[in-house]
């Protein structure tokens, strides 16, 4: 019976099921805090612990899913390409904002991790947490972080952005939709972008563009770490 759980289909089916539950829960309660990915991770982990199934057995199927992350990242090229018109119009503010924002993110995380006395693995896992998940995981693995911590940090950032971005816009008295979009996308990737899309078309488009640019800039910054 034990080897049944080392079938690759076990891990895949468990992930599909728990993610489905996560999506259903979110559509019921309609709050960004009920993040489907977060719910799926917690349920899957609870299942493995409850039935004493080793992570290695689960991950035989898990690896099949994780392997698709590279093509999913590559596919971001299509969405960046589709926004080339609006990107051309606001190229300088978008690139300038993402550059300053991404550098600020990396430096502030580095300093705070030192201040809190977090070790190198944790610091490396947190550094790319403001950029989109596939790029963040790629960077984290390159600089010696742990993918699962990075994923948790990216989720926390995204959920925070989705809930609090409208408040930050008010707090910093931003009235311009280009500024709103780029600030949200650079600081809280796709999570915040859902809130930006709700604010308006330009906000949503600029936020999506910022995800791509901030991801690229942060990757380049991380070469020097």
């Amino acid at each position: 019976m034990k080897e049944w759980f080392s079938s690759p289909f076990f891990g895949i089916v468990l992930c599909v099921l728990t993610f489905r539950i996560g999506v259903l829960v979110q559509s019921r309660v309609k709050t960004p805090i009920a993040n489907p990915l977060l719910i799926a991770i917690v349920l899957t982990a609870a299942f493995l612990i409850a039935f004493k199934i080793p992570y290695e057995d689960f991950n035989i199927g898990g690896q099949v899913i994780s392997a698709l992350l590279v093509p999913a990242t590559a596919a971001l090229a299509v969405s960046i390409y589709n926004q080339k018109k609006i990107l051309k119009e606001y190229f300088i503010p978008a690139v300038g904002g993402c550059l300053v924002g991404s550098a600020t993110a990396v430096v502030s995380i580095l300093l705070m991790c030192r201040a809190f006395g977090l070790d190198d693995t944790l610091t490396a896992s947190l550094l790319p947490k403001s950029v989109t998940m596939p790029i963040a995981v790629g960077i984290s693995e390159q600089i010696g972080g742990h993918a699962s911590i990075t994923i948790a940090a990216v989720i926390v950032t995204g959920v925070f952005g989705a809930v609090f971005s409208p408040l930050l816009v008010k707090l910093f008295r931003i009235k311009d939709s280009v500024t709103t979009g780029i600030s949200i996308g650079t600081s809280s990737h796709i999570g915040g972008t859902t809130a930006a899309i709700a604010m308006g078309e330009t906000e949503g488009a600029m936020s999506s563009i910022a995800i791509g640019i901030a991801g690229l800039i942060t990757t380049v910054i991380s070469i020097f770490l």
Binding site: C15, V16, L37, A40, I41, T44, A45, I49, Y55, F58, G62, Q63, L69, P71, T73, A74, A75, L76, A77, V78, P93, G96, G97, L99, V100, G101, T104, A105, S108, I109, M112, L118, L122, L126, S130, M133, P134, I135, G138, I139, Q142, A147, S148, I149, I151, A153, I155, F160, S165, L168, F172, V178, T179, I182, S183, T186, G215, L216, T219, I223
Partner: protein
């Protein structure tokens, strides 16, 4: 068949990306190189964006699902980070606010500058 061909194109970009990543003298994620390869192919019109529509939509709309297995990996290291959860959360939230502030300040400045310059140009014309 159309879908299979589209996936094939994206996977080919990934394979090229991994090759380039091995050749580079510094660490750079293969997935980001694959994205740049695909972006370049779209920009020089080797590939038409319509040709990737279904497959890229499929991959991106299911993106967050793909992180479930890696995310569950946290159970293998949970004991070692248990004591650091509060500082980890603090870093995530504070740095997001700081990043937001720095970005909005910069963009506001640049948008204002750009509008002033284009207005100046209109006056000249």
């Amino acid at each position: 068949m159309k879908f299979l061909w589209q996936i094939g194109i994206i996977l080919a970009a990934c394979f090229i990306g991994e090759g380039i990543s091995m050749l580079l003298p510094f660490p750079f994620p293969a997935s980001v190189i694959a994205m740049l390869v695909l972006l370049a192919a779209l920009a020089v019109r080797v590939i038409k964006p319509e040709k990737l529509h279904e497959s890229s939509h499929f991959l991106m709309s299911n993106m967050s699902f793909l992180f479930v297995p890696s995310g569950v990996g946290i159970i293998t290291i949970f004991d070692s980070i248990r004591g650091s959860i509060i500082p980890l959360l603090a870093v995530c939230i504070l740095s997001t606010i700081i990043t937001f502030a720095a970005t909005s300040f910069t963009v506001r400045l640049l948008v204002r500058l750009q509008r002033r310059l284009s207005k100046g140009r209109e006056v000249e014309q």
